[in-house]
């Protein structure tokens, strides 16, 4: 059952990822990315990261992609959106990189040992793991923020800077351009 779910989600993710790059029309690309985000969320559920799956749908599909759709429709793009001239080089490089990564993963045999897995979760006597099992997924993540407090503060600062930067950049008359 778990294997079937994984292969379904993986197949749809790969297909829609390729479609995002292949579609000529940017709106189709954004819709394909939307489908991909939902299936990544489904993959997270099979990995017992339920809270992240919800956040994936709310933040990515709900906020980020709506922003993309706004901009695509605002700019009213023409349809003559062709590929770069070096399309052959790009795809060739991608295939070479993919072959390298698959070779590395298969030669390392990482994670194929049965010792790492959910079976070890119950068997392990580590108090941290036991805490994760007894508490929920969301609560376990919340407790981790006591450990990663400083990165959390830095993340909030990044968001503040991005917000101010976006407001400033989207104003008229910025970048030394004349007002239309």
């Amino acid at each position: 059952m778990e294997t079937v779910a994984f292969f379904y989600f993986a197949a749809v993710i790969v297909l829609t990822a390729v479609l995002v790059v292949a579609f000529r029309n940017p709106i189709y690309s954004v819709i394909a990315l939307l489908v991909m985000f939902f299936h990544v969320a489904g993959l997270f559920v099979t990995l017992h990261a339920e809270f992240l799956a919800a956040v994936q749908i709310v933040v990515y599909a709900g906020a980020i992609l709506v922003l993309y759709l706004f901009v695509v429709m605002l700019l009213n793009l023409k349809q003559d959106d062709s590929y770069q001239r070096q399309v052959g080089w790009g795809i060739g490089l991608g295939i070479v990189g993919l072959a390298e990564m698959i070779y590395l993963v298969l030669s390392a045999q990482v994670g194929n040992s049965p010792a790492i897995g959910t079976a070890a979760l119950q068997a392990s006597a580590s108090p941290k793991v036991a805490a994760i099992v007894t508490r929920g997924n969301t609560e376990a993540i919340g407790y981790m923020y006591t450990k990663y407090l400083f990165p959390f503060e830095v993340a909030s600062l990044i968001l503040l800077v991005a917000m101010i930067g976006a407001i400033l950049l989207a104003k008229k008359g910025v970048l030394g351009m004349k007002e239309p």
């Binding site: 993710i13 990995l47 990515y60 698959i102 950049l169």
Partner: protein
């Protein structure tokens, strides 16, 4: 039980799709979408390792990736709007102001 290497191969495929997208597309919005693909590939890796190593830290780092993605989208789209206002194009080959 799905082996961890399957998730890594899936993540590699999605990441390289985004990589190829950055290389071959001319529309700057699709370039940003391709960067989103790469960030999602790292998220898949983080969550898979978090599950197989029984450590929630990986899921916390997905949140930081999410923060960076949101900031990148906000600033990137603002830059695209400013560029479009000035040059009326989103084709990266027409944006050669800083080329010498």
């Amino acid at each position: 039980m799905v082996p961890l290497s399957y998730y890594m191969v899936l993540s590699a495929i999605v990441f390289l799709t985004g990589f190829v997208g950055v290389l071959i597309r001319r529309n700057i919005i699709i370039l940003l979408l391709s960067i989103e693909l790469m960030l999602n590939a790292t998220n898949i890796n983080f969550v898979a390792f978090s599950h197989y190593l029984n450590d929630v830290s990986g899921q916390v780092f997905v949140f930081f990736t999410l923060t960076v993605a949101a900031a990148e989208v906000a600033v990137g789209l603002a830059i695209i709007i400013a560029l479009y206002r000035g040059k009326a194009t989103v084709n990266v080959e027409d944006l050669n102001l800083m080329k010498w």
